[in-house]
């Protein structure tokens, strides 16, 4: 029994997956007409991927003990580059390259400020958020642009097409899943990921063990910028539109996804699988609450409850405490039988 529990608790992201399943279970009871069909899930697979890609990058950043508040601006700025290049050259592929490069540039500048100059990441990236969002508004003249004709491009089909015939699974769900798999392997199986964990755990230890702390941080912020650029492309292509405030709704949602996934704000430990499910929880809540019929005003309150429940569950179940909980439950049940 004990060894079963010991193995169960080793499954990464299990508590948060349970929260997601429970949540869908509740929604299936409260609004079966919506949640028993497949269309609502296809809609989640369409809307969640940009947020998920952002959350995966942020997971790595938070694991390193840092924070990045500039990703909403990257979604806007990279979206601008993507849209502008497409509208002026007709090539979405060039636009994609520009968006990724632009995001990486923003991240690289963040990394230099943080690692080389020593600006705390919360301040450097907050400044970056204002700067790049402001630059985007300036360059776009505050307007939004329609990407007319992009739906006929092969890249459009590749990135956000609908797969499996009448099921119409959005392709971006697979791109985001792919990014999640890559991020998991980077963090858990690559020496760059090990450097991220040790830097977040204790930068002095990392340094005396020969890890280049500064270079690790610069690479990390650059990677996060790059992922922000990719999220921008997924979003802009799906919507066929670029608008200057397209990143703004993501700030708190993305952070919520990371934290309810079980990644510790203290750094040193990151759960990519947890972030994956966390993003789907956050992305499903509003639709679920609205479909339940209790009204959209409840969304925030329910989000807060789910966040609190997830974090508590992660603390109780994570790090070997599941065995202790199981012991306690067994103890209680034994007492009941004796009585």
């Amino acid at each position: 029994m004990r060894s079963v529990w010991a193995n169960v608790r080793k499954i990464e992201g299990l508590p948060i997956a349970a929260v997601l399943v429970t949540l869908y279970g509740i929604f299936m009871i409260t609004s079966p007409e919506v949640f028993m069909g497949h269309r609502i899930y296809m809609s989640f697979l369409q809307t969640v991927p940009p947020m998920l890609v952002l959350a995966l990058g942020l997971t790595l950043v938070i694991t390193a003990g840092e924070i990045d508040l500039s990703f909403p601006a990257v979604v806007a700025f990279s979206g601008l580059l993507y849209a502008w290049i497409f509208l002026h050259t007709g090539s979405p592929l060039l636009g994609l390259v520009a968006a990724l490069a632009g995001g990486a540039l923003v991240g690289f500048v963040n990394g230099i400020l943080i690692a080389k100059i020593g600006v705390p990441s919360i301040m450097a990236t907050l400044a970056a958020q204002f700067f790049w969002a402001g630059l985007t508004v300036l360059l776009a003249g505050g307007k939004s642009w329609n990407l007319t004709g992009i739906e006929n491009e092969r890249l459009h089909t590749l990135l956000v097409g609908r797969l499996f015939g009448s099921l119409a699974v959005p392709a971006q769900a697979f791109w985001a899943l792919g990014v999640a798999v890559v991020c998991w392997f980077i963090l858990n199986r690559h020496k760059f990921g090990e450097a991220i964990m040790f830097v977040g755990d204790n930068p002095n230890v990392a340094r005396v063990m020969g890890i280049n702390v500064e270079r690790t941080k610069i690479k990390l912020f650059t990677l996060n910028g790059l992922l922000g650029g990719f999220a921008a492309v997924l979003l802009t292509t799906e919507m066929n539109t670029f608008w200057t405030t397209q990143g703004e709704g993501y700030m708190l949602a993305v952070m919520a996804a990371v934290f309810i996934g079980g990644t510790s704000i203290a750094g040193g430990k990151g759960l990519v699988v947890g972030t994956f499910f966390g993003a789907y929880i956050i992305g499903s809540l509003e639709a679920g609450v609205v479909a339940t019929g209790i009204g959209g005003y409840w969304t925030q309150l329910v989000t807060g409850l789910v966040m609190a429940a997830s974090v508590v569950l992660n603390i109780v179940i994570g790090d070997g405490r599941l065995a202790a909980v199981a012991d306690r439950v067994r103890h209680w049940s034994t007492l009941t039988q004796e009585n």
């Binding site: 020496k191 090990e194 964990m197 040790f198 204790n202 230890v205 020969g210 510790s264 040193g268």
Partner: protein
Amino acid sequence: MTEDAANRFSIDAPASRGGEVGTSGCALRMVDIQKRFGLVRALRDVNLEVGTNEIVGLLGDNGAGKSTIVKILTGVYPASAGELYVADRQVNFRSYDVQTAHRYGIETVYQDKSLGDKQVLWRNFFVGREITNRFGFIDVKKEREIASEIMVNTIGFRGEGITVDSTVSDLSGGERQGVAIGRAMHFDAQLIILDEPTVALSLKEVRKVLDFVHKIKDAGKACVYISHDLTDVYEIADRFVILDRGEVVASIAKSAVRKSELGDFMLDYAHGRKDAPR
């Protein structure tokens, strides 16, 4: 201790016991090493030799320059002047860093910054020099096997409950130092530097650490044991080097001094009674 007694102890004498200095040179030789931080002279003309299987206790009060020496030896920062030889190879300070020090066979066990608390043991064994394929992906199976081998055979962790998948925060202070010492021995260190490894440990845990240090000696390796606590050092070291305000003031073979005499000698420095020119 009297002035006569103090004079008995030669300064910078290559007094080494248990080593093979005569036949195969030194594990470490520092010649006129200086370190300045701006106007502050942290080290002045430090000369220090460590034989190939010698354990040197480096003693000194706070601020004597012990940790400055450690940081120069381990490549955290270079010396301002002087020469450093590791296993009779001269170190070029311009290209000397932590990785190079590892390649030279210098391993360091710190008081508190040797291990990542939230990481599993097998990661701690290989961090900074992972076994990877050419794309940088870690061979987890191999790292775990070797880590397990080190734990059982090198440091003798046969106790229940601690495996390569344990997190460092689950270990006691002494066990942590054991892991760090085992790691150092695995990477074929010729010289292991222990920087105050027993500070903040209970007596029982100190005992464990000292037992690990005996294994370093048994394995034929050299060791610099840094401390300001005589009790640990006296048991372990073959020779004592005493540092005061950036200078080596004495080098004393263990056979030439009793523990109480050594204590008096150090107290004299702590009270500033040795300020007169030698």
